[in-house]
Subunit: 880 residues, 2 copies
């Protein structure tokens, strides 16, 4: 018995996503629920994998299994593929395990040829409709299956319309359509050397192969890469009898969400078009009507649809995204799936569904994709700002963005990747545009509704988006955007407010987000469930306060070098660095001492009652000096011109010192605690500042928990030496100020040797904090700047690496050594606190790993604290 | 009962080195053997450690234990410390567990004061002798114990000599000596505010403290650092009754080795001076007589000494370095210790002693210090060269050296560290000069014998040295060296031949060393014993042949970038790098292909029958381009002057490309196999060249074993991809050439992630080779250039690290991850070969570690292959 590749809908169910794809599994589930699903079958993802194994051939047995399945459809519909009287037409659609909207190919109306088209005309008593289906089919089949250029067909269509003197496709006469079909077929013959296939069986075979093939088209590969979908899953193929929303005004098609995908509000939310095929709605070519209008247009169908929607949500226990078609007054369900939604909607739906008794707190927690929450934690337009609103579109994806106008996706990608803030403005977007959307601050389109491609993609990415802004026109020739008669050139700044649909001239003031009631409630559940503490990385009192407001349980990383970079202080820092003697250096450090004391005073005060980990100076000293290259140019210029010898002399001296401090590999150079081994007076000043600030706060009655963190340790001797320095300084300050306070001394674990010798280091450490940025660099031997600028792209494209290890913690390498270090450390020091303060501390998969290896806390940027709280709870639920 | 700090000689023995120090333990052993040792006792190293614990005080109980020990000496000698009639005089000497010649302090003639000096004069009937002892004692005590400047005392001595009108100390009259003593005492009173101590008990107490203190003087610390002696061992103190070699012409003193420390020849080898104290011989102030002369001078003493020497060697089963004194016709043994020797002597002694039945092969093997063998493997003067010999001195340390004349040790250190070849020329050297000797190519002195300080130190370091070249005079004012009337300025080049004592004008041609008969024999024993294979790092056929001659069992690392650096090829390499398209790059690579093929042909042929591991291109591409800094200067100059716009344009273009390739941290950048992920055509060319060369050799009937090594792997996917490329290329070449051959594909393990994921990598690797240079850099987060240039010095000085991890493999960090990687790798692939090809592969301690973790081979530079063979055998013997 060979592998079963083909499943009739009633043979499957929702749990078979892996084999049948999401679409196929849900069609099966709906069919078994007794919902009105047009009959069909699904060819499994296994068949697709086998197709690739067989170098693009049908695997053995597949063809034989398709025949009886097709026969079953024919029996159920009482039609027959290719039958000259009652012809069956089918759709052939892709459907992978994970949703990849619009990325792969679809063929509709399959089964038409010069004979069946007549029968279809007769059966529907609508010859024009039949011919329109036929020309759409030839067009789509030629594009998708025969891989011919769309444009050639559109040129012919244009010519026929001009000849007849009409503007819209729907105005084409029966004669024009017949001419068009003829011209299309001639074009196919000319381009391929073969006639357009008349045999419906052959059409089906080729369409199935084309869908298999589309798994590996460029945009599908790009989408999978962006969404971490494995390349080896393959797509299923759904063959289903056609129903038509475009047979007349008693037909129609639509999509709906069971709750608002923007806000999560509990109300049916969708759009439909009468006398249209589904693609017309999704593609955003005509602007559809809101679903509520259906109640007036066709109350019976509306009632039925409300019932089906409600049943589907109850059945799946989650908000559904439903596609339906009305064929001559009868409702058919074409698809249901879990609806994509904004982060805000995601939270509201989950919290509401808990309160409705539909799901548990734990389920609510894991329903939220933490990466998506970012959008809620970003800025929105300040309510108090005076705005010059120049247009209004549909509020398709919340959040606000300002950026320079860009009309082209590749340009948007280029400039966006160069850190420029750009706003992508398009008539409509297609799946080919994803890379441009990703690089833009936001998207504005002139056509398409809330479920158009641009809206769906932008919501998923958390980018602000305004759609269907009909007063907007793009003039590609002039590279301008016309809005109500005014012209805005490419490069000018506009802003959009995706929450209201407003388009605003110029840049707008934004304010920080606040958490919604539901978000706060969800986070309290997360706090009940999670085991990991969440702290924040903050370098000043304002950030510390923000972190605290977001629920941070302390500061996991306060970087002191940011304080050194302050423009007012940099001359003193340079004086310190350029000192020739210890005495000179101490003079400069003495000037920095009161400034640092104020810094620490503010942060410790803002975090009263909570631990504050202060990391001593980390970067190499040359980072505080002018760049050697600039000096070299200036020195060469002064030498050649001979002007200003005094200036030349002083610049040469400075260049000499800068070059003496320059390093081959600064990342692996004289920085971190290595500076303090050479110049202990620098750390001595810093710890004195910390403890003087502490002493003042203690006298003011504030509860402080300072923790001193030594960076870049590789050997217990470094930490022991610097711990001694810290303890002596603390003792001296306490004695001088006549107060007592507790403090801790710990170390970053950010170099492999520290991790490998964590047992001995733990003997003199109160805590470890994994610096996973540096640890990733040393474990991979990757300089982050060089890797991301030069070769990491090749590694991701060729799938040498699945993800950027600077974004998602590498469990096999970095994670392995972290686990080893934790075990070694705790084995020697039971009271050792262990956390992480690299950027990974705010990323969900990395946080899950920290939970799994039993760290005490993660620390991340203040804005990511809520994400981390949630992710920490998900880690518990997902690993129970 | 308190700790026992004091041991009479008869209470100790040779095995108690740790507690009694080397000198004390051997004095005890000799005393117990019944040899004529002046009575004494040893204060333990534990007492020294306790002294440091007690902040420089005598530890509790020490003073009470000294009293009875002193009483025992007094009883044995029938003298008494401070006795006005029969005064006991003692020496107080340091003596650590490891020999640290001249590094710590000694006080002689202790016990003299204005009363006892009279008694000494009466007892010896030699007032002049007694006064001379007294003035030496005051001088030495003031220097060592009171820490007063030697020069002040020498100035007084000079003044007294001038006043009396004599040239040598020995010509001083009794009156002058009395004046001198008086003046010395006044000076002490003036400088310290206290009179010179008259009480012998107080003298003894202070001298013991001074010896303890001298453990931590600057030169002792420096010596320990250079010789990897732990700082916490401490020194013992030996208090011994004085015997005098300077009481007249029937007295004398000398040192001797039981075999030649230069060649190992079995013959008593030493020097003595009549009417002198021991320090006179060692300090090289007077040139002593060879020991054989003693047979004529005093046959009875000579006979006794021969017997004692022979007994000592038999007793200790090793060559001895003996100090003796003759006091008024009676022989006393003052010290015996294992004699330091040249590498050549070391080998000859060990091999001879095996054949004499004294020691086993295993003992012979471990007697050799592998690091020392370096000197035998370096060059000597070509016999056929015409030499302009300008002087002859004593052949004090073998080997030949050419270098620029430098007269000052600090200057020698400065210039030597700047990679300049310098020859240090001094009247004589002192322990303060070590850093200068270390940095010089060789040492030439005008005074002192074969056992002078310069000779001993140079032999130990394996530096060529010619001593006692009496025709040489240094004119410090003119910065010249006068030899037989001719003047040679500082900076001119001279050569020395330490094997013959010749001093030669200018640079001389040198030839490669050959292994002595004994060395070869010893190495065959090593080969019988060792388990580790030894391979060599060689990049060309000549080096490969040399390696083979030295016994290499294959090539462990053939670097292909050295072939790219060839001046004839660099333009093609640059053309390849600057290519804008794949096609351009392939054109350049096609030109390199036949060149690389010739390289590989030569090496594979030279190593017929043995494995040859060829590492594909490793360094970042910008290493092959001009330096950005030079281009930037040139571009700026051209811009300012406005001359030659065409040149400016082309230079600017090149600068742009060079800057595009430049990296923040090239060590962690786009290099190694990362290049081949981006530009697979580069590796494709290299493997094609390897396999084309292989195919030719197979057709010639040569037995070849090519192994392709991929550098800088971090993930199994890299190796899998590049293995596929290699296999496809091999298959194509074999098909085209119609031959078959075997080959292997393996990887460097030189980045932590590769080590951590060695299990998965091993699935597609035939072998691993640890690149411990890079592994040390990434495990420590040390850029080697930056660390060694900037902060490693601080780490070693402050003892944060004990040794430079680039010289000696760091077992705790790098070693730990190597062991882990080996276990992971072998766990997944039983046939995996594992070796090491970093510089550590030629260093003994690192080789021992490779043995301990069960690697298959080490690979090192061809000249170090014999060292590695020996060290691999020692690893077996020392870990049985």
């Amino acid at each position: 018995m060979s592998t079963k590749y083909v499943y009739l809908f009633h043979e499957g169910n929702a749990s078979m996503r892996g084999l049948l794809g999401g679409k196929g599994a849900n069609l099966a589930e709906m069919a078994n629920m007794g919902l009105p699903v047009p009959p069909g079958f699904t060819i499994t993802t296994e068949a697709c994998k086998a197709y690739y194994t067989c170098n693009g051939q049908f695997p053995a047995g597949l063809e034989d299994q398709i025949k009886p399945a097709l026969a079953a459809i024919e029996k159920a519909t009482e039609k027959k593929l290719g039958d000259p009287v009652r012809p069956l037409l089918v759709s052939v659609r892709s459907g992978a395990q994970a949703s990849m909207p619009g990325m792969m190919d679809t063929v509709l109306n399959l089964g038409l040829n010069k004979e069946t088209v007549k029968a279809l005309g007769e059966a529907t008593q609508n010859e024009r409709f039949a011919l329109d289906c036929y020309r759409r089919f030839i067009h789509m089949f030629s594009d998708v299956v025969l891989d011919l250029s769309r444009n050639d067909f559109e040129d012919i269509l244009g010519a026929v319309k001009r000849k007849q003197g009409v503007r819209y496709d729907s105005e084409l006469s029966v004669e024009s359509l017949a001419t068009l079909i003829d011209d299309y077929k001639k074009l196919v013959q000319r381009l391929t050397g073969h006639p357009f296939p008349e045999d419906p069986q052959e059409q089906l075979r080729q369409a199935i192969l084309a869908v298999f093939r589309s798994w590996n088209n460029a945009r599908a590969i790009f989408y999978r890469r962006s969404n971490h979908i494995p390349d080896d899953w393959g797509t299923a193929v759904n063959v289903q009898s056609m129903v038509f929303g475009n047979t007349g005004n008693d037909s129609g098609t639509g999509v709906a969400f069971t709750r608002s995908p923007s806000t999560g509000e509990k109300a049916l939310y969708g759009e439909y078009l009468m006398n249209a095929q589904g693609e017309d709605v999704v593609a955003g070519i005509r602007t559809p009507l809101p679903i509520a209008s259906l109640e007036k247009d066709n109350p019976e169908i509306y009632r039925q649809f409300i019932k089906v929607s409600s049943d589907l949500e109850a059945h799946y226990r989650d908000m559904q995204d439903i596609e339906f078609t009305i064929e001559r007054g009868k409702l058919y369900m074409l698809q249901t799936r879990v609806g994509k939604r904004t982060a805000a909607a995601s939270i509201k739906v989950a919290v509401d569904q808990y309160h409705e008794g539909l799901i548990s707190k734990e389920e609510a927690i894991v329903r939220i994709e933490p990466g998506q929450l970012d959008q809620l934690l970003h800025r929105r337009i300040d309510d108090k700002a005076k705005l010059e609103v120049i247009a209004k579109g549909l509020p398709a994806s919340p959040g606000a963005a300002s950026g320079r106008i860009v009309l082209d996706v590749d340009e948007a990608e280029r400039r966006g990747n160069a850190e420029e803030k750009v706003l992508l403005i398009r008539t409509e977007t297609t799946p080919d545009d994803i890379h441009g959307i990703m690089a833009a601050q936001g998207v504005l389109t002139s056509r398409g509704g809330m479920t158009s491609h641009a809206a769906v993609v932008a919501r998923h990415m958390g980018k602000p988006c305004v759609c269907g802004c009909e007063t907007l026109e793009i003039d590609h020739a002039q590279r301008t955007v016309l809005i109500n008669g005014a012209a805005y050139k490419e490069g000018e700044i506009l802003s959009i407010d995706g929450a209201t649909g407003r388009v605003i001239k110029g840049e707008v003031p934004m304010i920080d987000p606040e958490l919604s009631k539901e978000f706060k409630e969800l986070l309290t559940w997360a706090d009940e469930i999670r085991r990991l503490q969440v702290r924040a990385n903050a370098d000043n009192p304002a950030d510390a306060q923000k972190a605290r407001d977001f629920g941070a349980q302390g500061i996991g990383l306060c970087r002191t070098e940011h304080m050194f970079m302050d423009p007012a202080r940099i001359p003193i820092v340079q004086e310190m660095i350029l000192s020739q003697t210890l005495e000179e250096r101490k003079v400069a450090l003495a000037k920095l001492l009161p400034m640092q004391e104020e810094d620490f005073y503010g942060i410790l005060k803002a975090m009263a009652g909570l631990p504050v980990i202060i990391r001593l100076l980390d970067p190499p000293l040359h980072e505080f000096l002018p760049r050697a290259e600039d000096l070299l140019i200036e020195v060469t210029r002064l030498k050649v011109t001979g002007e200003n010898p005094a200036e030349l002399h002083s610049k040469e001296k400075l260049l000499y010192k800068v070059k003496a401090l320059m390093e081959q590999n600064p990342m692996l150079g004289h920085r971190g605690c290595r500076l303090a081994i050479t110049y202990p007076e620098i750390y001595a000043m810093q710890v004195q500042a910390i403890f003087q600030a502490s002493a003042r706060l203690v006298k003011e009655g504030i509860d402080i928990h300072p923790e001193v963190m030594i960076p870049l340790v590789i050997h217990v001797n470094e930490l022991a030496t610097l711990r001694r320095l810290t303890e002596e300084t603390a003792a001296a300050v306490m004695k001088e100020r006549g107060v007592q306070f507790d403090y801790k001394v710990g170390t970053m674990i950010e170099v492999p040797r520290a991790a490998l010798t964590a047992d001995t280091i733990a003997e003199v450490a109160d805590f470890f904090s994994f610096g996973t940025n540096d640890l990733t660099q040393t474990i991979f031997g990757f300089s982050r700047d060089d890797a991301e600028g030069k070769f990491l792209k090749d590694y991701l494209e060729q799938r040498i690496l699945d993800v950027n290890p600077f974004a998602v913690l590498d469990r096999d390498g970095v994670g392995k050594i972290m686990q080893m270090a934790s075990q070694l450390g705790r084995g020697r020091n039971k009271n050792l606190g262990i956390g992480i303060c690299g950027e990974h501390g705010g990323e969900a998969s990395s946080i899950e790993f920290c939970h799994l290896i039993d760290l005490d806390y993660v620390s991340c940027s203040p804005f990511r604290v809520p994400i981390a709280r949630l992710a920490a709870a998900q880690a518990v639920v997902n690993n129970q």
